[in-house]
């Protein structure tokens, strides 16, 4: 190689690193906007429960924030893809106009219903004076005050039916107060229609139980922590989900007060509007089997942002998989070399000799080191008689032989000390991780994406297993066309690092499903088995 060729290659390599750094940074921003959008909509779901006092201005601001974030995602996509997706701007503008139209309709449409409710409640049937009400409440024993999250406003009283006793939700006496740890979809649907109120140990405002409670207008407080251990079946309670309070016994004055003059809960125009905006921007039910929409199919902000993030990920994968992404430093995992791992460190070379490779523990990037530790842990304890790979042998390359019968794969990563982007190319698609160890818990983030199908996996069971595991790990999960994406942020670094390690382990496990292949019916056992193996 001539000196001129060497100089040219060095310069080209420097430009490639710069390009890679710019694109990975932009991708982080895009993921940050997507995560902010998810957080915003979860917050809106929380407010939909009714525990807050909000006005139209809040809903208007929500629409503008959602549209701004969608614009930011589209902008970042175009930077990442060298402006190959300009039509996304037009669709984003259209969706912003659509959301504003929802607001405009909300100010006119539906007002008849609201005024009807107001008229109905304008003439009290019976009056309870504030002093009588306050005295009655003062006499009552408060079991919970502001201890959970209101999922649906309202007031109800009745005897507790505690499902942790082994009772079935179908046998719930009408009008009783359902108490459970959490409820599955079928249980919630059965129970919510009969329950006078719902109190759960777990659950979130955006969860299934909360949605059903709102749809059926059943007062509900979730996340109480110990309701099942504290409230025995038969205990009479009064649930004031307007104030997030549970009283022991029946507070008749409170029930009479609400019967006589209470306005119409979620029928209020502002709550109707909030619901309409949430449904228009981010539909709650997205089927796992739904196909990835093309741009022309994007009907909601959710569709657009999800498609944009997918295309941006594809572009990053393409960049990292080609020479423009740099060849990087070889990482030796130990055991048989079924996967070649290379890392481009964007802040400079590793201290070790790049040509000889480095161990996962020598990787400078904190998130990538955690990821590779999890990834190589599976490697060292994997099947085919290669348990307990020897560190020394791994370091020096002993045992690095291709395993027969397994499709080889490659894992490429671009990293700085505090950030890692990794893509693993498979025979059918790729898996991706983007993780940041920030200065504070709010800036600790993990994003991962798993290809829908493995070999011999027509039902996309692989993506379903990944989604199941991510949910168990506390990720916000989105499944579209079988492909699973997950977001996590806001945890201390130690907890984030643990999850990154488990995700690394999951990458390795899903890359090598074993001889049994993939079966949709085995998804739940596979998730259980994986979680057990992490323990």
């Amino acid at each position: 190689m001539s000196w001129l060729t060497r100089v040219f290659r060095r310069r080209a390599s420097g430009e490639d690193i710069t390009l890679l750094r710019l694109r990975t940074t932009r991708f982080r921003q895009l993921l940050g906007s997507y995560a902010s959008l998810l957080a915003l909509l979860e917050d809106a779901a929380d407010k939909q429960g009714g525990g807050y006092i909000l006005d139209r201005q809040y809903v208007i601001a929500l629409v503008e924030q959602v549209a701004e974030l969608a614009d930011a995602v589209v902008f970042d996509l175009n930077v990442i893809t060298s402006h190959r997706n300009l039509p996304f701007y037009e669709v984003a503008d259209g969706l912003r106009a659509q959301l504003r139209a929802v607001l405009a309709q909300g100010s006119g449409g539906g007002s008849d219903t609201v005024s009807e409710v107001r008229t109905q409640t304008a003439v009290p049937l019976q009056t309870v004076s504030p002093s009588t009400l306050a005295a009655a409440l003062a006499r009552s024993e408060v079991l919970y005050r502001q201890s959970g999250h209101v999922a649906c406003r309202g007031v109800a009283a009745g005897p507790v039916c505690n499902l942790s006793d082994g009772r079935q939700s179908g046998a719930l006496p009408p009008g009783s107060v359902l108490v459970a740890t959490d409820v599955e979809v079928e249980q919630a649907a059965l129970a919510a229609g009969r329950a006078g109120a719902i109190l759960l140990d777990l659950g979130s405002a955006a969860g299934t139980a909360a949605r059903l409670a709102r749809e059926l207008r059943v007062p509900a407080i979730l996340g109480l922590g110990d309701a099942t251990s504290r409230l025995a079946t038969g205990t009479e309670v009064t649930v004031d989900a307007d104030e997030n309070v549970v009283y022991r016994g029946r507070v008749n004055e409170l029930l009479d007060y609400y019967r006589s003059g209470r306005p119409g809960g979620e029928d209020e125009e502002e709550y109707q509007l909030l619901r309409s905006v949430r449904e228009a921007a981010f539909p709650l039910t997205v089927g796992a089997g739904r196909t990835e929409p093309a741009l022309s199919d994007c009907r909601t902000v959710r569709d657009l942002v999800h498609l944009a993030h997918g295309l941006a990920g594809d572009a990053l994968h393409e960049l990292l998989s080609t020479e423009r992404g740099g060849t990087g430093t070889l990482v030796r995992l130990g055991g048989p070399a079924w996967c070649e791992v290379r890392v481009v460190h964007l802040d400079g070379l590793h201290r070790s000799d790049p040509s000889g490779g480095i161990m996962p523990s020598e990787v400078r990037s904190r998130p990538l080191r955690a990821f590779l530790e999890g990834f190589s842990n599976h490697h060292g304890t994997s099947s085919a008689g290669h348990h307990g790979a020897d560190h020394h042998a791994a370091k020096h390359g002993a045992g690095e032989q291709r395993m027969p019968g397994l499709a080889p794969c490659t894992l490429r990563a671009a990293a700085t000390d505090e950030h890692a982007l990794a893509v693993m190319t498979l025979s059918r698609g790729f898996d991706m991780l983007d993780a940041t160890a920030g200065g504070g818990r709010e800036s600790n983030t993990v994003y991962c994406r798993f290809a829908a199908c493995g070999d011999g996996d027509p039902e996309a069971a692989r993506g379903a297993v990944a989604a199941g595991v991510l949910m168990r790990l506390g990720f916000a999960v989105s499944v579209m066309a079988g492909q699973a994406s997950g977001w996590l942020r806001g945890l201390p670094w130690a907890e984030t690092e643990d999850r990154v390690r488990i995700v690394g382990y999951l990458f390795a496990r899903l890359a090598r499903p074993g001889t049994a292949g993939w079966e949709r019916s085995a998804v739940e056992p596979d998730v259980e088995a994986f979680m057990r193996s992490c323990a």
Partner: protein
Amino acid sequence: MSETLRVMVVDDEPIVGRRLRPVLEKLGFEVEVFEDPVLALARFAEGRFEIVVSDIRMRGMDGIALLERVRAHAPRAKVILITGHPSPEVAAEAMAKGAFEYIAKPFKTDALRRVVERAALSLGEMPPPSSSGSSEE
């Protein structure tokens, strides 16, 4: 309480008055709700209100002006301002002009309840009875 406290709620968004009324009545307060700040001020002049909860941005009169008029008429009255357009400048102006507290919307009903309880205490009234019954606090 020696005598029932009276609270005026002023907000041109009807939902605020509808939602705040039960929160305050459960504390034992007499509550009157107004969507028009001019009418509210006229009522304030003829009635006896110890606490006023008012939005800032309203048609007809803004909450800062209402605060000034209320304080001029009844210096002892406690005025709690709420707004959907929070800013440090407006908060500073509100507090400088004698607002008891400044709250950004959306807010939890419990947050307002606690502020009103503090206002009642600062008026020399006993805390309302319903706030002391919690076994969780």
